[in-house]
């Protein structure tokens, strides 16, 4: 296969037009402007082409985002908000992953998402756009111990004791990426399949109290047919400082996994994106890449 691969690319060459352009580049100033990218010119045409591409049937699932009184879920205190929930079936894990579960809550640290996938024995999702972005470390703060954990890819595991062993319940896999203008944080939550599990695990869900600036939901469908709920949370104050801040969470279900892709925008060092519209546009670019 290696030889065939080499022979294949022996036949791939830059076009004569590109060669000519590149060789004449030295006639240009050594500081100057580039030509208009060809792909930008064809953008309108491509919308129609992409509309015909669909994700493999059965790979997608249902995601719900419902406004409700979150007090019913938490401490009983009246609190308006939104509950995002994904309907997923349990996914089987590798033997080594099942053996590693040694407590009620645990966080496993990997160098990269690929290493985590290899260890868990499953592919979480494929996304050409995220793959091409720079992976940056993720951080989680464990509510039980207030401990902060940082790593290339973090896997939060919950488990139940059963007959002298720990049976994994859920896994939440965190990875983060830096784009040209800002960072994106992906969490992928799944139920763990186990032969000894005797009760159905609840669907993974995230509750979001309505912030002072309000909360909006946008239904977005990618060109491949992935249905996404994009939740925008707006804040008029943050840490007591007035200003325009917002965050976006994109919720969807793919491969029996509940995803939350997150980014934020605002003024201040903690924000990567300075412009909310740009943050949303880049988020949609990433969403279009899931398959």
């Amino acid at each position: 296969m290696e030889k065939k691969y080499q022979e294949l690319f022996d036949q791939v060459h830059a076009s004569p037009a590109l060669r000519m352009e590149v060789l004449h580049m030295k006639e240009r100033e050594r500081t100057g402007r580039r030509r208009m990218p060809a792909a930008a010119l064809t953008a309108a045409l491509l919308v129609a082409v992409l509309a015909g591409t669909a994700l493999a049937a059965g790979a997608m699932g249902l995601v719900h985002a419902d406004f409700m009184d979150l007090g019913l879920l938490t401490n009983g205190e009246h609190r308006e908000g939104l509950l995002a929930r994904g309907e997923v079936a349990p996914r089987p894990l590798s033997e080594q992953a099942l053996e590693r579960v040694t407590g009620k809550e645990d966080t496993w640290i990997f160098d990269s998402l690929e290493e985590a996938e290899d260890f868990l024995g499953l592919e979480i999702a494929s996304n050409d756009v995220l793959d091409q972005m720079e992976a940056i470390p993720s951080t989680v703060c464990r509510s039980s111990s207030a401990e902060t954990i940082t790593g290339g890819c973090l896997v939060d595991v919950t488990a139940d004791p059963l007959g002298g062993q720990w049976v994994p319940r859920t896994l939440r896999i965190f990875s983060a990426y830096m784009g040209e203008h800002g960072a994106f944080f992906q969490s992928a939550t799944m139920k763990a399949a186990h032969p000894n599990r005797w009760r159905e695990e609840d669907d993974p869900a995230l509750a979001m109290p309505t912030p002072d600036g309000g909360l909006e939901v946008e239904d977005y469908v990618t060109p491949r047919g992935l249905e996404v709920k994009i939740v925008k949370k707006s804040y008029t104050h943050l840490g007591g400082v007035p200003g325009d801040y917002c965050s976006y969470d994109a919720f969807f279900v793919l491969n029996n996994t509940f995803f939350d892709l997150y980014t934020s925008a605002g003024q201040g060092e903690q924000f990567y994106f300075k412009d909310a519209e740009l943050a949303l546009a880049e988020m949609k670019t990433i969403l279009d890449g899931y398959r």
Binding site: M1, E2, K4, Y5, Q6, E7, L8, F9, Q11, V12, H13, A14, S15, L18, R19, E21, V22, L23, M25, K26, R28, R30, T31, R34, R35, P37, A38, A39, A40, T42, A43, L46, V47, V49, L50, T53, D111, S112, E114, E115, D118, S126, D128, V129, D131, Q132, M133, E134, A135, G179, E180, H181, P223, L278, A281, E282, K284, T285, D288, G289
Partner: protein
């Protein structure tokens, strides 16, 4: 800065490599040409003092990967990333067309490491350095890319 003669020699020798890396990244020849042109413009304008051919070659590979990342993250690509199967290079036979299709059907994260490793002959840690990945991630991507390619070719 490179002299005109040095630049011409470098362009003659490495333009195909730059183009192939970009093609593996984007699949679409138009995007690959845009990226290759930007890379060569950067070569023309760089004041890097190259310490020999290998330094120049690796610099070009790394700059190409970075340029591809930069273009990929641009918002106007939101409707342009998946023009698959458009403008395929010309091949001698059906078998090579099928192999090319199988390679391009691999997820993007596997295509460039496979190319750098199998075609350009870089070692795993060198691929990691060029792509900004740690060697174990490169190793995983190579193994998965190979396995997926084998499966796809067997299925056909």
């Amino acid at each position: 800065m490179l002299t005109e003669r040095e630049y011409t020699a470098a362009a003659e020798q490495y333009l195909d490599m730059v183009y192939r890396i970009a093609l593996n990244w984007f699949k679409a020849p138009a995007d690959a040409e845009d990226a290759a042109q930007n890379v060569m413009l950067r070569l023309w304008r760089t004041d890097t003092a190259f310490q020999g051919e290998e330094h120049l070659r690796r610099w070009l590979a790394r700059v190409t990967v970075n340029e591809c990342k930069r273009i990929s993250c641009h918002p106007w690509r939101s409707r342009t990333v998946s023009l698959e199967g458009c403008g395929e290079p010309a091949f001698d036979g059906q078998e090579q067309r099928e192999l090319y299709q199988a390679v391009m059907d691999l997820p993007a994260r596997y295509r460039v490491p496979l190319y750098l490793y199998y075609y350009e002959g870089y070692a795993v840690d060198e691929v990691g350095e060029i792509m900004g990945l740690n060697p174990s991630t490169v190793q995983t991507r190579l193994a998965r890319g190979r396995a997926k390619l084998k499966t796809m070719l067997t299925e056909e």
